[in-house]
Each structure stands twice: as C-alpha cells, then as structure tokens.
C-alpha cells in the first residue's frame, strides 16, 4: 500500500519536474500543480495509511477511536491544497500577464526582452 502511494507520488513529481523545466510558461504552471499533488501525497502518507474510516468521533463517544485515520496530516494537507490553489491561480494570471507584456511564452526569450528594455 505504501509502495502504491510512493510510486504515485514519484510519477507526479517526475512529471511535474519535467514540466517545470519546459520553456513554455504554461507547461511550467502545470508542473507546479503536479508537484503540489506529489507533496500532498507525501504528507498524507507520513503517519501511516488507514482504510478504516475518517477522523470523526462517533456519536455517543468522547474520544477518537484508535482505528480512525490520523487527523493531523489531513489538517496539514487541507491547508496545503488551499494554499497551492492560491499560488496556482496567481501563477496562471501572472503567466497571462507575462504573455501580454513580453509577447512571448518562451521563458528563454524573457532575458532578451530585458536587454531590449535596457537599451531603449
């Protein structure tokens, strides 16, 4: 079971990394999304996986049963999902703005654009 999660996280990270190294800035943002998923899986796996049920205290009891899922990594991942959404939304809009300003979606040409600005 751990191996399944490890492989999924690995594939997500590899694909994300590959996309992050593309010159196309749209692909770059997609890479960010995949790397975020990979990190969330790593955290989710950290304290051990349980199929037995969510971290909810049953009605009539005062404490969480030992069989329930660990609530702590879930709280962390929940935060991470929301924050990475904020980052992605910002990055996507930034990319579109870069396209509008620089007139290219090739990150290698941003540098030339800097130079042009410096000359003019």
């Amino acid at each position: 079971m751990n191996a399944l999660f490890a492989i999924v996280a690995g594939v997500l990270f590899a694909c994300g990394t590959y996309l992050l190294m593309r010159r196309s800035i749209m692909r770059l943002v997609m890479g960010l999304v995949l790397i975020g998923h990979s990190a969330n899986i790593a955290i989710f796996t950290a304290t051990g996986l349980k199929r037995t049920g969510p971290a909810i205290v049953p009605i009539g009891e005062e404490t969480l049963p030992a069989t329930a899922a660990d609530p702590l990594p879930q709280a962390l991942v929940l935060t991470a999902i929301v924050i990475s959404f904020g980052v992605i939304a910002f990055a996507v809009v930034l990319v579109s703005r870069v396209w509008a300003t620089a007139g290219t979606d090739d990150s290698n040409r941003f540098r030339e654009d800097d130079d042009m600005e410096a000359v003019s």
């Binding site: 590899a14 999304v33 909810i56 404490t63 969480l64």
Partner: protein, 774 residues
Amino acid sequence: MAIVTAVSATFLLAALAPWLGRVLGTRAGWIFATVPAAIAVWLATRAPAILSGTPIEGRLAWAPSLGLELAFSIDGLGLLFGLLISGVGGLVLIYAGAYLGPHRHASRLQSFLLVFMGSMLGVVWSENLLGLFVFWELTSISSYLLIGFDHERPAARAAALKALLVTGGGGLCLLVAVLMLGSIGGSYDLGALLDERDTILASPWLGAIVVLVCLGAFTKSAQFPFHFWLPGAMEAPTPVSAYLHSSTMVKAGIFLLARLDPLLGSAAWWGPLLTAFGATTMVLGAVLAVRQTHLKRILAYSTVSSLGIVTMALGIGTEKAVVAGFAYLLAHALFKGSLFMVAGAIDHGCGEKDAERLGGLRRAMPALFTASLLAALSMAGLPPLLGFIGKELLLEATLAAPTWTTALVVATTFAAALTVTVAFLAGVRPFIGSLAETPRTPHAPSPGLLLGPGLLALLGLAAAVLPATAATPLALGAAGAVLGDVPEKSLALWHGLTPALGLSALAVAVGAGAYAGRRIVRSGLDRIGALDRVGPERLYGAALKGLLAVAGGQTRLLQSGHLRSYVFITLGTVVLLVGGTLWLRGAVPFDAGPENPTWPELLVGAVIVAGSIATVLSRTRLAAIAALGLAGYGLAIMFVLFGGPDLAMTQLAVETLTVIIFVLIFRRLPQFRSFSTPLRRLADGLVALIAGLMVTGLVLVIARTDTDPTLARWFGDHSVPDAYGRNVVNVILVDFRAMDTLGEITVLAIAAIGVLALLRPGRMRRRHRGRAVS
C-alpha cells in the same frame, strides 16, 4: 563612567557634526576640537593616579549573555595612546577645518574623523577583547570612508578599498584569535585571561593564536609584507594622513601587540616573529622612502619604517627595548604628525606635492619652516629633540639585545641613517635653496593650518628638554603595562659618551651624505626597484582580479537569466542532496508495506499516473488541462478511500476551480509549441526520472518512519470535550489552530488581490504596445 562618557561623547559629536558643521561654517573645527581637548585635559589630570598604579575603569553591559561587555580601563598604555588620539585628534580637527575651508563636504570629513577618534579610543581602552575587536573593525571602516573621502576619484576609491581589504582581512584573523583565546581562557576579559595565562601558554593552539594576532597587527600597522596599503592611503586628504597614518590607526596594531604581550610574550615564536618582521619593515620602509619624491609618499614609507622600529622593539622585549619603543612611538607621533600637516600646508599654500620641485619656501612661510625644521630634526634624531632620545634608547637597546645583536645594530643604524636623509628631504628641502616655480604663489598658512604642526613640533622640543614632566612618565607607564612593573629609568638628552652616541653620529653622517648624493643613491636603489614587480602589491592586485573573475564566472553560471536553468540547478541540488543521502545511508526499504492494495485503489492510482503522464505528453492546451484535472480528481478519490472525506471535498472543489481558471486564461494564450530540442528533452526527462525516483524513495522512508502520536491523540481526545466538534480535522483547522487558518485566509486574500491587479488592463500592456509600434 567617565570613560564611557568620553567615548560616547565623541560618537555623539560625530553624529551631530554634519548638522553642526552647516550651522557653524568654517569655524566648526575649532568648536569640535573642544571635545577631544576636554578628553586630553581629563586624561592629563588623572595621569598621576593612573601612573601610580590605579587604572580608571568603566563598564557598560552590552550583551552579557554573549560575554560581551563594554569594559573600559585606562592603564599606562591606554594613557599614552589616549593622549595621542585625543591630543593629535583635536589639532587635526582644527587643521582639517582650515585645510578644507568651505568645501561642500567639510563637515562630513569632520564627522568621519570623530567616528574614527571614538573607535580608536575604544580600541585602546577596551578591557574586553570582543569589545576591542568591535572598535578595531570600526577604525577599519571609518578609515575606508576617510581614505575614500574624495570618492569621485577612482584612485581614492581603489586606495580605500585596498586599505579596507588588507586591514579587514587582518581583522578577521584577529577575530579568530580572540575567539580562540576566549574559548581556551574561558573569558574575553583581559584581566581574567591573564589569570589563565599558563593554560593559554600550554594550549596546542598557542602557535595559531600568535600567528593570527600577528596577522591582525601587521596588516593594521603596515608591517612587511602588508606595508603596501599605507602609501596608497596617501590618496586621503592630508588631515586624514596626519591623523590615521602617522599617529593613530597604524599604531593600533602596535598597541595590540603591546596589549597582548603580557599574555603571549612568553610564547616561543612571539619575540622572533616580531623582531624579524619589525626589522625587515624598518629597513624596507626606509629604503623605499628615499626613492620617493612625492612629499606624502616619502612620509608614508618612513612611517612604515618607524612602525617597524616599534614592532622590533616589542619583539626584542627587554626592559630597555620596550621603553625605547614607547619613547620612539611618542616622538614619532609628534614629529610625523607635524610633518604630514606641514606637507598639507605646503600643498595648500602653493599647490605642489613633489619635494624635488619645491624650494625656497622659508621666506613665504617662515613659521611653517620653523615647525618643519624642528620636526625634521627630531625625525633625524638630532638633539635637543625627543626623536634623539628615542633613537639613542633604541640603539642602546639593540646593542644590548640578547639575540641577533649584530644584525639588529647594523639594521637599526642603517635605517637611522636613511631616516636622516628622508627627514631632510621631506622637512627641510622644500624650504631651502632658491624659490621654485609653483602652480600657486606661495602664501603663509592660516592659523588653523599652522597650529597643529607648530604645536606638535614644539612639544617634541619641550618633551626632550624637560623629559621628566611628560615623556619619561608616559613612556615608562606604557612600558610598565607591558612589562608588569614600571621600570626604574629616566629619559635624558645626555647619556655620556656611549657606543650608541657613536652609532648615532655615524648614522647622521651617512644620512647627510646620502642626502647630498641622493641622485646617485636613488639610481642605485632603482636597480633593486625591479623587485616591485613580484612584490606583495602585485600579489594583492592579482588576488583581487582573481576574486572578481571567480565571482563573475560563478554569477554567469548560476544567474544565466534563463528560468529553466534556475529550475534545473535548484532541482539538481535537491536531488543530489536528498537522493544522495538516501542512497548513501541505504535507507530506502524496498518492500510494499504490510498490506497489499485493493483493486479499486490500484485503479485510482493508475488514473492519477495516467493523468499526469498525459499532461506531459499532450500537444494541445485543452487536452493538457483535461489530463491535469484527471490527476486531481483521482487524488480526491484516493483521499476518500483512505479516510479523508474533507480532503476529498476540498480537492474536488479546488480542482474544478483550477480547471476553470486554466481554461479561461490559457484560452487567451498561444497554442503549445515545442521549443526544446529532442536531446534537451531527453536530458530533462532523465533528470525528472531521477527526481521522481528520489521522491518515491523518500515517501517509502517517510511511511516507514514512526511518528510521535502524542499530538494526534491529544487532538482526538480533546476535540469533543473542549471544542464540541466531532470532525477532528475541522476542529483542528477552525479551533485549535485557528490562527494558522486565519494566516492561510490572509495568504489567499493577498493572492486574490494580486490576481485582480494583474487582470486589470494596466500600464504594462500599453507600454508594450507602444514599444512594439516604435
């Protein structure tokens, strides 16, 4: 507390000086000088008590937890240096005011000078080695600002940088030595360290400490092979040269050696190191001085020589030598400070800096000539001036030196002879003979320009005629701080017909001869001048160039300006460090875990994998976005399967929004194109593969590592009783860690504001269009 007041008053005045200078105008120097004058008078009134063995003390806790305290104490050594710093400092402030006149930045120079003065006082009065180091560095920094005062000239900037790098490098050595002393001796307090003297002397690190202290002192005091920064520093305005490079800062190194002598003096290498480098510097400085014709550079090289003399005297370390060293140091501060100010006054009066092109100024500047003559005679070591006493004592001390006697006597006599030549070149030559043509018609210096050199020269005379009033107690008091007890000795002009007197006469005769035949001497010296090409200055230049080349190369390599290479370097580093650690430790457990996955789980896993691979391979934007969404939804289902319904709901909502945003925005962007070559893609794919493997290994390790369940159990136990919530994940987020969630919301709000700002059609787009048109 008086000491703390004295030091802080100087710094306070430095802070106010720029403003006060504007209010007071060109007379500011006279007003500023009252502070150092008050310090000098205060020291003079307390001198008898200090010299009879009760130092003045003052403490101010700074960072007690670090053992750092502003602990001050004035003993005989601190008294001598304190008087020089405040006395010469006051005169220099007046002189600087007159020298710069209505210069735009005159009060800035005064302010820097005051910062320097305060730092110098801190160095010589510090009882705590860390405090001493802080002030030591402050002198380096203020000296950088002072040398580079005329910052519009590249030469001044280069000289300032050179001085800063050389003395700053030495400062780092000193810091290491101080830390070593502190960790061995258990304290940074000099008194406490002296109690631990035997421990320190027995430490295996003693050799390193001695060498590092010497590096700190030698760089500061321009000893061979670090002497080259001092002549360069002559780019500074003359008041700065007179103050820093003759009487104070360059003597800080010597002060350090004297201060630590009681602690390290018995170390085997201490004496020989100081003697050898001091004597080499003494001879080298004198030879180089004779070769110069530029007035200030002559004086600079002869200062190098004089600093060598005092270092050598401390190295010889006998009672006679130490007393001679301090007597000479006092004499040197007086005559060299005076001669520097004379050189500045000459330059100010007739616009010429070259000694060989000057002549006959005695008529136009009679008072300055008198001052210059007195100082030059003192420098040449002629009676009845303090320089004579210093030199006689020095020759006596070398004659009685326990080791290397002959070599030291010959070297000292040789240097003394050349010093006579140099004294005449710099102090007498410009005034005698026929009047030379100069860029400006010579005119007599103003009182402000005359006061400093005149007073210092007269003090050199008075101190020698009446040695018992000041010179003897000061020199003996300082020597007492080094030797442990104040020696029973007295300075006098007449010692009888001694061998030292004979050597002295010989030196004067040879020196006068060399002055008369200086053309021949110089051409002879120029032949050995070829050595300059392999000298330490060349080494400094090459090192600086090399450093810049390395910095440039590594910046070009790391900061290429290509986004993808930044990503590549960052990822590569992470993979190398994390993957390498995993590999080396052999920590990855290659097993599937305790339970096998079920078919639905495997299916969902396959969906995520397929989605992410499809994202990479998609050739159109929409297909890529769809594949990305597939991976995200797969992840949400995975969360459901393993007891995370909240995560699943959030992931579903977020994924939906992400897909919508991607579609909306990327619609406006161009179609996917392929920018990279197949080879590039292969290389990137390989790196990505390794990175993925690393993460797989990492997750396996993480899943295997036992985590502390305390926190999870605490949340599970307290959720219902304390927070009245059954969904523990929710309770954590909105109750126990509510502040974190608030922070998260804030981040989202900021991102939203950023998105909004970027989406509005703004200035940037219009500018882009404008440029495209033009």
